[in-house]
Amino acid sequence: MRRNPDFRTTSSLHTNASLLLFTMKSLEIRNLTIALADSLEEPIVKGLNLTINTGEVHAIMGPNGTGKSTLSKAIAGHPDYEITEGDVLIDGESILEMEPDERARAGIFLAFQYPAEIPGVSIANFLRAAEQARLDEGENVDAAAYYKRLYEKMDDLKIDRKFTARAVNEGFSGGEKKRCEILQMAMLEPTFALMDETDSGLDIDALKVVADGVNRLRGENLGVMLITHYQRLLNYIQPDYVHVMYDGRIVKSGDKNLAIELEEKGYDWVKNELAAPATA
């Protein structure tokens, strides 16, 4: 058993989607306002709306400091952030009262921009503990089956098996850290992956490997929020939707061509467009 089956079955019954989309799930971000817990008066994300369904890849682009990372961390329940308004729902049910680990077990996966190091804990043991945490009390991860699956996923992602004995992220290069995130994502099989600047700090080869990993995991059971500063990543991972975020809001949405337009014109184009009506 790899994830919380109760959550899947009960929630999918509540969706009002058509029979054809019976297994489709949604992550709905509704009028979300997020501030740092110690400065509630100055929100970073200001009333953001976005719905991501499984099977879809949404790219979120925008200049630095516009709230992209804040959005992904707050959805995952990072304690530094407070949600002062709005809601986040999976299949219509709010997750805001849940602890970060409960949200994770409910299907949210955050691929970190800067993954933490866990000295002394091997990747194999860490993932095993994460899988164990998804089981009921008294149940245990079947070690043989677990390793078989782990090695399969590693082979898929072209990761050397020796990797599993290394302590999580400790002394990893930027590329190794990102690959480790993708491996965890492959093993934990989330419903919604929030990928925070997965391309930052990667050279082109590492970028291809990571993009290849994401493309393998893409599918009708996974919804992806792909946060990136550059269009470059989108050459390798083709998004279904592109959203431009500016000053805590989504100010423009479109298909993958929007990213290309953005690349050509730069973020100033968006800024100017926004500024125009205000000065008019």
Binding site: D80, E99, D101, A104, I108, E117, V121, A130, A133, L188
Partner: protein, 487 residues
């Protein structure tokens, strides 16, 4: 000699109805050892410590005059020595020596089979899993219940090789010639206040002799159990491993959680003859009201190796600095220690390496974890005098702080004279960061599971050196401690 009549009458044992005593200040889950049985003691020295107490113990044990004299002298030393609070914690002043009972036993002769052991005591050790471990992987077991061994047995195959493994009480009678030769030679009575106390009232502990060239393949194990309240356990262990021989000895200890303080003050002396090897492993999980003040030292002759593996999880205050005196050329000493100080606990641990011959090598690796208001202290002595050559020491001590009010202190005392030595000291303090915990929670682990994993990761490279059974046990204990430490 008959014990004095008024002391021979056992007092009404205090009944503890609820084994899980409420003591929220401590908040430590030590359920594994936290139970007690209402045992009738045939021998009880009563509370308080005087010359009469010592005469009572000697009478009950029918000891020779030299031991009697040794004890009485030691009492004098104990009384004369001040409490070492000029460097150690003032909490030592809270020990009420007058209220402690110094000797409690059902008899002096341990049983050779578990069937003969009285039911309550047998059940105690069964709950702690001792007979099962013995069957599975041990060469011999000694199980001490309060002052005396209740059970002692060594597998025939080991005994046939001439290995002696028995309680110290018995060994004094059966092998006085070996015992007396080494007893008190590695740790003299006057070493410190508590070695003097132990020398005055010692009872129980293990005695091991391994003949030349014999390599004992499975570990020998002792288990020390305190069952009675207001009691002091003072075992005395002496291990002599003859030329080219090898042994691994493991000890575990538990006590139920009482509302009053209990004292455990052992003395352990190891002697490794030429090219001998001794590995001594301790997993201490005393209840959080136990003062654990122990002196441990080994003497390593030429080419010999002594390794202490020391895990301190429980107790209110532990003061313990296992040492090795590197007496012979090329001798090696090693201390590997793990300490976990939870709320209300102080683990004051470390190591002493005294180089006394050329080409001697010592290694100290110490890891401590402080949780809540727990305090972990490292004290290390490394001594290399001027006239020696080619000595090496490597010291590494790492502290992990879990909460912002946790405390750790490091007091290394390294004296190196002469210029043909290599000494290295590294120390680090780290904290379990909020980012690390969030990262693990994001993968589905609860906060407590994340803490446990972080702590286990911190000690992982040390624990890998332990025998399998002990590393599993240590992991389990860390999990229990961390579970209790998170809201």
């Amino acid at each position: 000699m008959k014990p004095p009549a008024e002391l021979a009458t056992p007092p009404a044992p205090e009944k503890i109805d609820d084994p899980v005593m409420e003591n929220p200040a401590e908040g430590i889950d030590q359920s594994a050892g936290d139970f007690t049985y209402d045992v009738q003691y045939d021998y009880d020295a009563g509370a308080g410590l005087t010359e009469n107490t010592i005469r009572y113990i000697s009478d009950v044990k029918k000891e020779d005059d030299w031991i009697r004299e040794f004890r009485l002298k030691a009492l004098k030393v104990f009384e004369d020595k001040p409490m070492p609070t000029h460097w150690a914690t003032d909490d030592l002043n809270n020990i009420e020596f007058d209220k402690i009972r110094y000797y409690l036993a059902q008899g002096q002769k341990p049983k050779r089979t578990w069937d003969e052991v009285p039911d309550d005591i047998k059940e105690t050790f069964e709950r702690l899993g001792i007979p099962e471990q013995e069957r599975k992987f041990l060469a011999g077991v000694e199980a001490q219940f309060d002052s005396e061994a209740a059970y002692s047995n060594v597998k025939e195959i080991v005994a046939k090789q001439g290995v002696i493994f028995m309680g110290s009480t018995e060994a004094l009678k059966e092998h006085p010639e070996i015992f007396r030769r080494w007893f008190g030679k590695v740790i003299p009575t006057s070493d410190n206040k508590f070695s003097a106390l132990n020398s005055a009232v010692f009872s129980g502990g293990s005695f091991i002799y391994v003949p030349p060239g014999v390599k004992v393949s499975q570990p020998l194990q002792a288990y020390f159990r305190i069952n009675a309240e207001n009691f002091g356990q003072f075992e005395r262990t002496l291990i002599i491993v003859d030329e080219g021989a090898e042994v691994t000895y493991m000890e575990g200890c538990t006590a139920p959680k009482f509302s009053t303080a209990t004292l455990h003050s052992a003395v352990v002396e190891l002697v490794a003859m030429k090219n001998a090897k001794i590995q001594y492993i301790t997993v201490q999980n005393w209840a959080a009201n136990v003062y654990n003040l122990v002196t441990k030292r080994g003497l390593a002759h030429e080419g010999a190796e002594i390794k202490w593996i020391d895990c301190n999880i429980g107790s209110r205050l532990t003061m313990k600095y296992p040492g090795v005196v590197l007496k012979g050329k090329g001798a090696r000493g090693e201390v590997v220690s793990v300490a976990l100080a939870n709320d209300g606990q102080h683990q004051d641990t470390g190591a002493k390496m005294i180089h006394a011959a050329d080409d001697t090598t010592s290694t100290i690796v110490s890891k401590s974890i402080s949780v809540g208001q727990g305090r972990a202290t490292y004290r290390g002595v490394v001594h290399i005098p001027k006239h020696l050559q080619g000595c090496k020491n490597n010291t590494e001590c790492d502290a992990l702080l879990i909460n912002s009010n946790s405390r750790t202190d490091t007091y290394p005392a390294i004296t190196v004279r002469g210029d043909d030595h290599a000494v290295q000291h590294e120390a680090s303090v780290s904290k379990v960061s909020e980012e690390m915990i969030f990262y693990m929670q994001q993968r589905g682990l609860s906060e407590a599971q994340a803490m446990s994993l972080a702590v286990n990761g911190f000690v992982n490279d040390l624990v890998r050196q332990f025998p399998m059974e002990y590393s599993v046990e240590l992991k389990r204990l860390i999990d229990l401690e961390m579970e209790g430490s998170v809201g």
